[in-house]
Amino acid sequence: MNTEEFRRQLRHETEKWWTEGLINAELYKKIADRYQFDSLEQDASNRFITILMGLGGVLLGLGIITFVAANWQDWSRSFRVILLLSLFISVNLTGFYLWRRPADRKFQKLGHGLLLLGALILGANMALMSQMFHQSGNFYELLLVWGFGVLAMAYSLRLSSLGMLALLLLGWGYSLGWGTLILGQEANSLWQFVVRHIPLIASLLFIPLAYWCRSRAIFGLGAIIVVVSLVLNLRPLAGFSYGNLLAPGWIAALAFTLPPALLWGYHRALWQPVPQSQAARRVRALPPDPFQPIARGLALCFFSLLFYVFSFHWFWDVPPSDYQPYYAWDWHPLIDAVLLSIAALLGWMQLRHQFSRRWFQERAIHTGTIALMLCFNAAIWIWHFEVSPGAGVATLLFNLLLFLLAMGLVRDGLALSDRSVFWGGMVLLVLGIISRMLEYNTGLLLKSIVFALCGVGVMVAGLWFERNIRPRKVALPDGR
């Protein structure tokens, strides 16, 4: 990236090399031409002007907004509506025509910024219109409508920044809407329907947007929204504080097993027919999907969180009581769960071609181990809630799964020289040890020993890792 600072430093360094005789004048001139050293001063002055214009623009904008606010009540409703709509349309039009000019980079950025401003003005318009007619709607409905509006624009213009804004708005609107949904105070309206079926809507609208905009952030956030809304909507643990679950026990198994299964088995070939060459088809290999590592990473995060939270024994120790909560369990999200489990099954069926029979592979965390963890996970939930509550067994099994996952991640980090995987496993391991120690009543001496050991262990592991990883060899072009 040719930032100005880099070019300045490069100019400084190349002058030094020239005076020291490392490079000759011809090479210096070539570098100066390529990186445009002589335009550095002009660029600095341009930048200064841009900053001043921006500041002036912001102040001017504030002045206009304050003027409008001062006279707002004095204008008639129709005038206000026309003013709002014309502002909205003009900002979007200007932004679009500036942004699509291929020549000027500065105007493209300005246009892009104006398009984002237009998206924000959309929300302000809706809020002000609603206020003009004294509507007493819910805030989450406004957020959802706003989010869908911005999503349409993001699809059409293929802008990932607008896509992220739409996702953030819809995610926020969903979380507020979920709050009103579980309180059960709303009539069955369109927006309650949307909140109930967000997992399906999100997977149909957000994931294709990620591919369309080629944005990893949108895919990650979209997948998180799908998974979180799936678990929250099913409400598997509603009522557990009363010792009496509203939902059947297998719902908890479904809610906590389906998301990681769906994420691990995800591949774009699930919903996009991917053209394959004859050779690939013979080997039954799928073309690589750039988003599959993100999905798998999210599956591992989900597992880590799940195993960590449910390894505490107090959760399994709640005794069942006869208290009956007054609200009924909502079965509508089960539709989404069923449809997404079909998708998960299709994904896993595709994986079977790549399924290696050997247990010990290069990666410790491979499809086989994930399948095993899924089965154990489901089995614990079903056993505890349907068959017989065995507090000790469930706690023990979840702790076992937690430490196995942590060690698997550490081993994978070492084998693949992947720092983030290694440290993820280490953090999980240390968290697990410290939580167990703090959870069960132990003496202070033991606590101090464990803390010290953990600290030393982390330091030793870090040093050992850096010393022993195989350095990734970059393939040099064959010039020798």
Partner: protein, 218 residues
């Protein structure tokens, strides 16, 4: 000791001239409809948000409702005035003919219609006299007289909501009006009434507030 130098110069990758052709910058000029179609959709959303209330505002029939005291801490929540009416009281509605529809199933809301009758049309005092509720029904009543209207409400087990519970006031007058209203509510609740407009489908919007003989219209 001398590292073996490569024989040919290593080809450096060419730096991109301007900016990588990523999708945040269109490669070729996007056609105009790529903006117009979603813009029209967004404008439709903006207009649709207040659409039904705007229609009621323009075409509705004016009625007057008697307010009921609101929890003083909830009076001015943020930007709007919280309003409650005598017909927001479930027990009052349940005592009217047809009031047995005001029951709620577990965790669900019921929709109902309350029919109000105009007061004596010859008297025009300030503040105007409120309309009186005469009956309740589960379906929209089709046999209304000229001096009757029906408002749609929702009951969710502990609260009755008509869509008339918020009234936005400009910031500089908010405190003063609020003080006025609290004073009236302590002494004579009947002096605070709200003028609303109701359309044929039962949708109602608040139009103005009457505190003693002052009218606040925003």
């Amino acid at each position: 000791m001398n590292p073996k130098l490569p024989k040919k110069p290593i080809d450096l990758p060419q730096p991109e001239p301007q900016v990588l052709p990523s999708v945040s910058v269109p490669g070729k000029r996007l056609p105009g409809w790529r903006l117009f179609l979603p813009l029209v959709f967004q404008a439709a959303l903006i207009v649709a948000v207040p659409a039904q209330d705007a229609y009621t505002w323009v075409n509705g029939k004016t009625a007057v409702l008697q307010t009921a005291p609101v929890d003083p801490y909830d009076l001015l929540r943020g930007y709007y005035q919280t309003l409650r009416y005598d017909i927001s009281d479930p027990s009052l509605l349940q005592s009217l003919p047809g009031g047995e529809v005001i029951t709620s199933l577990q965790g669900q809301s019921t929709t109902f219609y309350v029919v109000l009758e105009a007061p004596d049309p010859t008297a025009t005092p300030h503040p105007p006299l409120p309309w009186q509720p005469i009956r309740v029904s589960a379906d929209r009543p089709t046999d209304l007289n000229d001096n009757e209207i029906a408002i749609e409400g929702q009951y969710n087990g502990w609260q009755i909501v008509y869509g008339l519970e918020t009234y936005y006031m400009p910031e500089d007058q908010r405190e003063q009006i609020n003080a006025d209203i609290s004073q009236v509510q302590l002494q004579e609740q009947e002096a605070f009434v709200v003028e609303v407009k109701v359309d044929a489908s039962g949708n109602a919007v608040p139009v103005s507030l009457w505190v003693r003989d002052r009218n606040y219209r925003f």
